[in-house]
Amino acid sequence: MDFATVLQVLDSTVRLATPLLFACLAGLFSERAGVIDIGLEGKMLISAFFSAAVAAATGSVWLGLLAGIVSSVMLSLVHGLASITFRGNQLISGVAINFLAAGLTVLIAQDWFGQGGRTPSLIGQGRWGNITLPFANALSDVPVLGPLYAQLISGHSLLVYLGLLTVPLTWWILFRTRFGLRLRAVGEAPEAVDTAGISVTGLRFAAVAICGLLCGLAGSYLATGLQAGFVRDMTAGRGYIALAALIFAKWRPWYALMACLLFGLLQAVALRYQNIDLGGLTIPVQLMDALPYILTVVILAGFVGKAIPPRAGGEPYVKER
C-alpha cells in the first residue's frame, strides 16, 4: 500500500468519523446527565433532512444548518418530555424517535419536493465548501509532510474542524466548569443534585438540548457537507455506531475522538478493500461490509469489557428520601 493510498484512506477516515464524532459527543452529554439516548440516529436523520431542505430552498447552507439544529433539538425535547418530565422508558422513546424521523422525513420530503423522499441536489452556497488551510498549496510539494498537510489536514469543510474542536470544548465544559460538574453529578446521583437545591429536570433538559444541537450538526454535515442533499435513511445506522463508540470511549471526550476515528477507519478500509484475495481464498464482500459491526462486538467484548456507565443512566429521577 503506497503513501497516497494511506493518505486517501485516512482522509476518508476523517470525513466518515466526523458525523460519528458529533453524534458520539451528543450521546456523551445526554448519557453523562443520565438520559440514555438511542434516538441519535433519528435526530441526525431529521436534521439531515431539514438542513438539506432549507438549504435547497434558500440557497444558504447556514440557514440549513440552523433548521437542522432546530429540528433535532425539537426531537430532543420530545425525548426529554418523555424521559424526564413524564419518566417514561428512555429506550422506547429513543426507538420511537428513530421511527418518527424515518417516517416524517420522507413524508415531508415527498409533500414538499415530490421527489420520492429526496431533496433536490444542493449547489453552490447550499453546501459546505472545503476549506483550504493556509500554505496548503505551497507546502504540498514538501515530501511526506506536505501531502499530509495539504490532503489530510487541509481541505475539509468547516464542520469537520468544528467537530474536532468540539472534543476539547466538551472536555473543558465537563471537567472545568460548574455546569459540567452538575451535569456529571446528575448522571451519577440526581438525588445529590436535587438536595443541593439544583433542578434535576433543568439540568437534564439542558443536556438533552445540547445532545440535540450536536446531532443537528452531525445530520447537517451528512446532508450538506459530506453529501449534496438528503435521501431517505441516509444516516444508515451511524447513530448506533456512535453509541457503540460512546461505550467504547467509556463516556470520555478524548476517547470518543479515538473511538470515532477508529470506526471511521474501519468504514474507510471496508469501502476500499472489498474483495480481498488472499491467494486463492477470497474474502467475500459481505464479510468486509459486516466487518465494522463484527469488530464493534469484538472490541466491546475483548477490550472494553465492563464499561461502567453513568450510574443513574436510564432511570428516571423520582424523589426518594
Binding site: 471537567f175 472545568r176 466548569t177 460548574r178 455546569f179 459540567g180 460538574l181 452538575r182 456529571r184 453529578a185 451519577e188 446521583a189 438525588e191 445529590a192 443534585v193 436535587d194 438536595t195 443541593a196 437545591g197 439544583i198 450510574r311 424523589k319 426518594e320 428520601r321
Partner: protein, 531 residues
Amino acid sequence: MTDPAIELKGISKAFGPVQANKDISIRVMPGTIHGIIGENGAGKSTLMSILYGFYAADAGEIWVKGQRTQIPDSQAAIRAGIGMVFQHFKLVQNFTVLENVILGAEDGGLLKPSLAKARGALKSLAEEYELSVDPDTQVQHLSVGHQQRVEILKALYREADILILDEPTGVLTPAEADHLFRILDNLRAEGKTIILITHKLREIMEITDTVSVMRRGEMTATVKTAETSPEELAELMVGRKVLLRVDKAPAQPKAPVLQIEDLRHVDGQGVERLRGISLEVRAGEILGLAGVAGNGQSELLNVLGGYADATGTVRVNGKDIPLSGAGCDGMARRGAGIAHVPEDRQREGLIMPYTAWENTVFGYHRDPAIQSGVLMNNAAIREEAGAKMQRFDVRPPNPDLAARNFSGGNQQKIVLAREIERNPDVLLIGQPTRGVDIGAIEFIHQQIVRLRDEGKAILLVSVELDEIFALSDRIAVMFDGRVMGTRDAADTDQRELGLLMAGITEDPGGDAFEAVDAALERKDRREAVHG
C-alpha cells in the same frame, strides 16, 4: 424570649390515601438538640422532608427564626439556613469530597476558584468541629462514618445553622456514633440547632434536650429529655408497654455444628477481605460477630451463604461444604442446612416487586415439595404464606401485597419467617433489626432466642453493639478480615470490644475513642489507595 429556630404550625401531608402527617405543630429552640422518635412509617422523615423543601405540605406554615418562610424547594431551605443529612446519603460516589461539598454551592461558572475556596473552608471547619476528612478522596472510598461527615460538611459549608439528621446512627459503629455525638455537641455549643431522628432511645437520652414522639402521622407528645425515661418514651411510641431488654435463659450449647477453618476470600478488586478466619458455632448458642462495617463480616456471611468464593474449610455437622465452583451457591447451602437472613433485606433478602407469597419461597423455589409437575404450585405456596405471615405477625398479613409495600420491620419478618421455618441447622443472621422500630425489634429478638433454645447454631452479625450484647452467648470481633478475639458475653464490656473492633488488642488506657478513631482513619486511607 428568643424566637424558636424552627416552628411548624399545622403541617399536613397525604400520599394518596395515606395521611403521613396530620396537623403537626412543633417548636425547636435555637442552640438545642431536638429528638424525634416514632415507629416505622410514623411520618418523621416526611415531616423533615417538608421542612427541607423536598415535599410540599398540603397545609400548614413553616416559621424559621421568627419569620414565616415559604420552602418550595431545597434551594429555599438552604437559603433559610437549613441543612439536612438524609438517612441514605446524597453523595456522588465518584466525586471527591471537595467536589461533593461545592456541588450546588459553587462560586461562579468555573470550578477552580470554587475548589480553592472550599479547600480552605473545609480546613477550618475540620478544626472547629473535629470533622476531618481528606478533601481529595473519592467518596466511594470512604467509610460510612466519613461519608456522613461529608454530608455534615456540605451543610455547614452552605452556612446552615439548623441541621436535620434522619437516623444518622443507623449505619454507624458505636465509636463512630460517639464521634458524631461529639460533633453535634460542638455544633450545639456554637449555637447551631439540631433536629435528630432516631429509633434508639439510648441516643435520645444521651444527647437531646427535648424530644417529640410521633405516631401514625400525629405528634403525640413533646417532653424535656431530662424529665422522661426510655420506658415512658417507648410506651408513647408504640402505645403499649415494651420490653426493652431481651429475656433469655443461659445457653445450653451442645456439639459444634458450624466449623470454619482458615477461611480466605479475595474480592473482585483483588483485595483480600477474609484473611484466615477460624470460628466454631455450637448447637444451641448464638455467636455474635461484632465489628466496624467493612471489616469482613459481610464477606464472611456471603461466603457462608454461598455467593462468594473462598478457600479454606467449612463444615456443617462434620461435612465439608464446597467453597467455590459447582455446588457452591445459595440453593446448595440451603440444602446443606444453612439458612441465611441477609444484611440487606431490600437488596438481597427480598424481590421488592414480588408479592409476599412469592417471597416466602425465594431461594427455596426449586424445592420439589412445592412443584406440581413442571409448574410451581402457586396456590399451595400462597396458602402456606398466609399462615406463615399470621405466625410471624406480619402486618398487614396479606400475602398478595408486594414486598415493597411493607414497612422495613415487616419486610424483615417475612425474611425471618422464610428462613426460620425451614428448620435449618445453622442460621446466619445479618443486621436483623437495622432501621426497625422497637416494637418489631422486640418480636424479632424473641424469635432468635426461641430458635437458639430449639438447638440451632446461630451466627449473628450486627453493627449494633447493644444488640450483640443483648442476644449473644459468645462474641467474636472482626477487624480487617481477621478475628481479633472471642469473648464470653458475660465476661466482656463495650470498651474492650470497641478496642478490638479497631484492631487494638492491648488496652492503651485513657480515651479509647481517640485510639479507635485514629485506627479507623488509617484504614480509610488504605482503602482509598486500593480503590
